[in-house]
Symmetry: C2
Subunit: 247 residues, 2 copies
Amino acid sequence: MSEESSRNTRKVEVVLSPALFPVYFENIDCTVVVIDVFRATSAICAAFESGIDSLIPVATLEEAIEYKKKGFLVGAERNAEVVEGFDFGNSPLGFKDGQFKDKTIVLTTTNGTKAVDMAKSAHNVVIGAFTNFTAVCDYIEKADKDVLLLCAGWKDRFNLEDTLFAGAVAEKISQNLRFRNLSDSSIAAINMYNSAKDDMYEFLGESSHRKRLSRMNMEEDVIYCLTLDLSNIVPVLQGNVIVSNRE
Amino acid sequence: MSEESSRNTRKVEVVLSPALFPVYFENIDCTVVVIDVFRATSAICAAFESGIDSLIPVATLEEAIEYKKKGFLVGAERNAEVVEGFDFGNSPLGFKDGQFKDKTIVLTTTNGTKAVDMAKSAHNVVIGAFTNFTAVCDYIEKADKDVLLLCAGWKDRFNLEDTLFAGAVAEKISQNLRFRNLSDSSIAAINMYNSAKDDMYEFLGESSHRKRLSRMNMEEDVIYCLTLDLSNIVPVLQGNVIVSNRE
């Protein structure tokens, strides 16, 4: 693509670790998709699909404890486990029963909610997961801004599952001519998604986080998190609170 | 792989950007391979193959100017061009004539020499490029330490060509049972290399840096830098100076 035509298209960049976000975040007038497939962003999508009113993401356990003292329902996960004394963790299956319907809940996780916090000065910050894949792609196209696909990773390390989702989104939106200005990281993520898409579960068999979840008997969560389009809600950040885009 | 067997093998991790080096660098008793395929590490390999005695990598133009004042032959590249007033840049073809034979030269580049500087507290720091691929893999296996494959990238952004080389090395050494403890980033780099290896030139056609070099008519450099095993020398860092491993 020539430089001239690049100027008329939106940039699509995959940020492969939160530690790289400052390198790629050059312009607040963009859409940032926060991605933590196993399991924070899948859980947030499940929470909205189950009917919660809103979700307050917090980066630290200290903030989460403050909300708990004020009477909020608070979820906290560290190292893939529910932190003792909190109401729930980041399993998307924890929202199946609809017990949080119409409520405002609070959540802190090892990687995902920190990534939301980091991105919050961008114009549009949304929550992406395979479970709301098509809705997220539609949102991005309508917003018509440069796109940063922010992989939450694992403690600032690259991970496969978030990159696969970023690749899926980059491939889908780049079918629209407006979103054809792909960074090297987007090209790599698309290539990886195309290798994996016929059996993502198998492709992720050797990945660090899937092994971590397998040891903890969370295979059911893994399968849920790799399922496409269970929800057509896009959770969006408004100020410091995440709400549904459909209100 | 079980945790038990992981403990008996060497970790192989691809560091996808210098900005991620602090995240992955946990133990100085490791081998760091610095990778800047287009073109610093390919140029350093070419310089040693042409018979230079040693190379002093410096991170800044200020340091390079100091060496120039002392009478050294000094190369300096910024944004893919030779900096005015210096003796050479980072084109590997600049070393073809052997005019630097037995000399100590100084080099500073946009990305590569900064990555060397960052890695220098590790036990083994070596220079890797497609042009010394097999020699680097042999060196890693003999050193028998955990491995960090450090991609110099472009101004802290991920790039395709360095990751392809890292994937080629990770794949080759992981055929040795001792080097089977692969990070997610290594799995991704191997996957990408396997997609690209039949025609790396074509695969890189849309990459940011190849486009940059094409605009500058450096296709000959690109083809050189993608050629396997033109040298069996591994340039290694000793203190602040790079020397050949064959002395």
